[in-house]
Symmetry: C2
Subunit: 459 residues, 2 copies
């Protein structure tokens, strides 16, 4: 591996320059005004993969294109499917960014930009790991496929049916996804669990027009007060979600997991301080790591109605809104929870206001394999790249397509993530440590090597 | 009075044209970008009063100027102080207006514009009533003073100290305010009660930065969920406000009032339908009229935080906001309630979030004289102008300066209002019926005549 690793070390700066080019494209999938940027980001990806000697193509969807590439030149070796997403979260609120979200800034060996860690920087570890082999040996130790979508941040509406209808194209021995975190700086991790996601938008309509709160106040329902009431009723005093049946199918954390989490030396006080909080909050009876990894949640992501400007306006608004997401864990059934949520909210709602709930069926929480030859290859690759054994952790976030891959392709998914907890995902000043980027590229190279070697050894 | 009344009838169209000119000025007191429009509105008012032969001047304040005028030419007669305000509410949301808020539109004998009824059209009844006398007789039957402010919609911060420090300038036998409603089309009313106003803005801070709701959800306080909880706790299941002591000093409605309200033939079903509601809402045990006239309330006027754009954003926002107003009734002490509100909210608030409450001391609810020679003059003037006896009603809205006038000038206040319940005050498509405008002008003329005549008769 010396040649490959030397190439990676020697090209450290060039890799970063390439990533800067990619981060400059504001590929925000949820905002229609960025449709053309999405097209440009996909085109740049395809061109890079083509230049490495892979066969590439794009698949158009109703919204944003998918980029596919493959290198099938190792018929005796296993096939790895790499997945990533080139779309990013909206950068707002812009005023809290120290530099422009789409003008990457490098400071203190970190690169700051929207998408730096989630997921452009991480998916680039796949490209650059592949590049290192192709440029030094003109071949890869394993067969490789890549599928890179532009709709992860809006719930992958088109990738899921695509995977289901392209099982042969995507057939593989394992799926590698780099969209998760290391445990800490210098401490690699293999994530074996993900939470699912269930989103809903609530609209509450009261009077058909905005009313003067003096002339009408006290005799008419105020959608803002009523919305607050509905949302408040969704948690009890112990921080538990009150939706009927919400916890029925939740799998409790296993003893070995509790032990593994305890060994991580999680510093609750440092965590609290880093977030600027006087106190943490959460479900009674569970540790912080259990709360974010293994327990389901309900959070309001946005809420609005009435007058938000300077000064006052004595109005009872006609309508109020909230965006809500719930994080699902094994073995909750998101569809069942969505149904219960809707019924429960309607049962709580005053007859004086009209409640509309929009939302899909959601995605389930997942537990991935924690042992077996492929997982062992990944553990070895992480250890070789970072110089220490990886931690076995879970992820509080959601990667909806993981369930689809696991089911449709019947292949184990590996979450080889290189982000850090302070990467400010979905927040202003998102960043990616360049050491993580570099270690990630090495991990991908080692993993392909381990997997190829292992297979040869088996012959 | 024939000459005066004829002048009013003959100039009906000209009066409307003058009002159109005045309504074109977007004098929104709460929005700093309209500061120059405020100056222009005050200048137009002053010019009109000057042209009628009154002595005029402006008083500057820290924000918006006050216009003062007087005609002291009837030394033997009483003095009437007319009060009005030339500022208006913000016109937002603009997309719900059928025509532009500051391009007055006349349709079906109504004039549509922000401020048409509240209060530019109503204060014009004073100007035009005075004009009718001055143009026909070159004098008024009583001494007249006018004070017209530009800060009513932001709580009259400068008028209150001004009245207190200019008692001699403003000395009078009664104050006339036209900023209230008639009972119905063609049914004049004398409003003898007003609710007070107590406002507050709440800021709830959680994590010091926006967080990914997957990575952190379940372990950190979400300011939006916590805000909803706080607001929900401010009402009980019977629609009563839970702030300690909130109802302690509330004066119950008197038997004669209950009787008078019952005689008004209020159609609760038509009221509900007009507002597009499936059901009304309010404090248990009280009628609609009692709820809006004589009971205190708490309404959220605006609430916001997190992501409000299209699609979703899985964020736990750092901060959430709400604007709240309470309507005060006799004999609640707003200062005491404000204090109790702040203490109560802080006692309810989770230690995991930081609560900030901004707000003033508020204004009290008021009951005004319902009998006596001046009130009788007003009743006769209304009956003469509209052809039927006025209803005795209260107003759910607030005119904070009324208390100041009553106390500082030791003069009775008369609320001679010409608006209608469907005028869309503070809402899109605010309007003023031209019949109300016309009847209002006649009422003001009759009232001055009655008051002048009465006094002569006493000699």
């Amino acid at each position: 591996m010396e040649d490959v690793l030397r190439y990676i070390d020697e090209n450290r700066k060039a890799f970063v320059a390439d990533l800067v080019d990619f981060l400059k494209i504001p590929s925000v999938s949820t905002q229609p005004e960025h449709a053309q940027d999405m097209v440009q980001a996909a085109a740049q990806l395809q061109a890079r993969l083509e230049a490495l000697g892979l066969e590439t193509r794009q698949f158009t969807t109703e919204r944003h294109p998918m980029v596919y590439a493959e290198w099938p030149g190792a018929p005796e070796a296993p096939t790895v499917l790499f997945y990533g997403h080139y779309d990013v979260q909206p950068p707002e609120p812009l005023e809290h960014w120290k530099s422009q979200p789409f003008e990457p800034r490098i400071e203190d060996d970190k690169i700051y930009a929207r998408g730096a860690s989630d997921d452009k920087g991480q998916l680039f570890t796949h490209l650059k790991g592949i590049e290192a082999f192709m440029k030094t040996r003109e071949r890869l130790p394993v067969n490789v496929k890549l599928i890179i979508e532009g709709e992860e941040e809006i719930g992958s509406p088109n990738l899921v049916p695509f995977v289901q209808s392209h099982r042969e194209l995507l057939a593989c021995d394992c799926v590698v996804i780099s969209d998760t975190e290391m445990w800490a700086e210098g401490v690699p991790a293999l994530s074996y669990g993900l939470r699912g996601l269930l989103g809903a938008q609530i609209e509450l309509r009261g009077p058909k027009r905005d009313l003067h709160s003096g002339l009408y106040g006290g005799a008419v329902p105020n959608p803002l007060n009523q919305l607050a009431r509905l949302i408040a009723l969704l948690h009890d005093a112990d921080g538990r979600v009150t939706i009927p049946g919400f916890y029925d199918d939740v799998r409790e954390v296993e003893p070995w997991e509790k032990e593994a989490y305890a060994q991580l030396d999680f510093d609750e006080n440092a965590y609290r301080k880093d977030l600027g909080l006087k106190a943490l909050w959460g479900e009674k009876g569970y540790s912080v790591l259990e709360r974010v990894w293994a327990r389901p949640t309900l959070d309001v992501n946005g809420m609005w109605g009435g007058y938000q400007g300077p000064g006052g306006k004595t109005v009872i608004p006609s309508v109020a809104y909230a965006k809500i997401t719930m994080r699902m864990v094994p073995d909750q059934n998101p569809k069942k929870i969505a149904q219960s949520f809707r019924e429960y909210l309607h049962s709580l709602c005053s007859e004086s206001v009209e409640l509309t709930i929009e939302g899909g069926d959601g995605s389930p929480g997942l537990l991935l394999p924690t042992e077996g030859p492929i997982v062992d290859s990944a553990k070895r690759a992480l250890a070789q790249a970072f110089g220490r054994e990886p931690a076995m952790i879970r992820m509080g976030g959601s990667i909806p397509v993981v369930a689809t891959f696991a089911e449709a392709l019947e292949a184990p998914c590996l979450l080889l993530g290189f982000g850090l907890p302070d990467d400010n995902l979905h927040s202003p000043n998102e960043k990616f440590n360049l050491d993580c980027f570099h270690g990630g590229i090495k991990t991908i190279a080692h993993f392909m090597n381990e997997l190829g070697r292992k297979d040869s050894a088996n012959e």
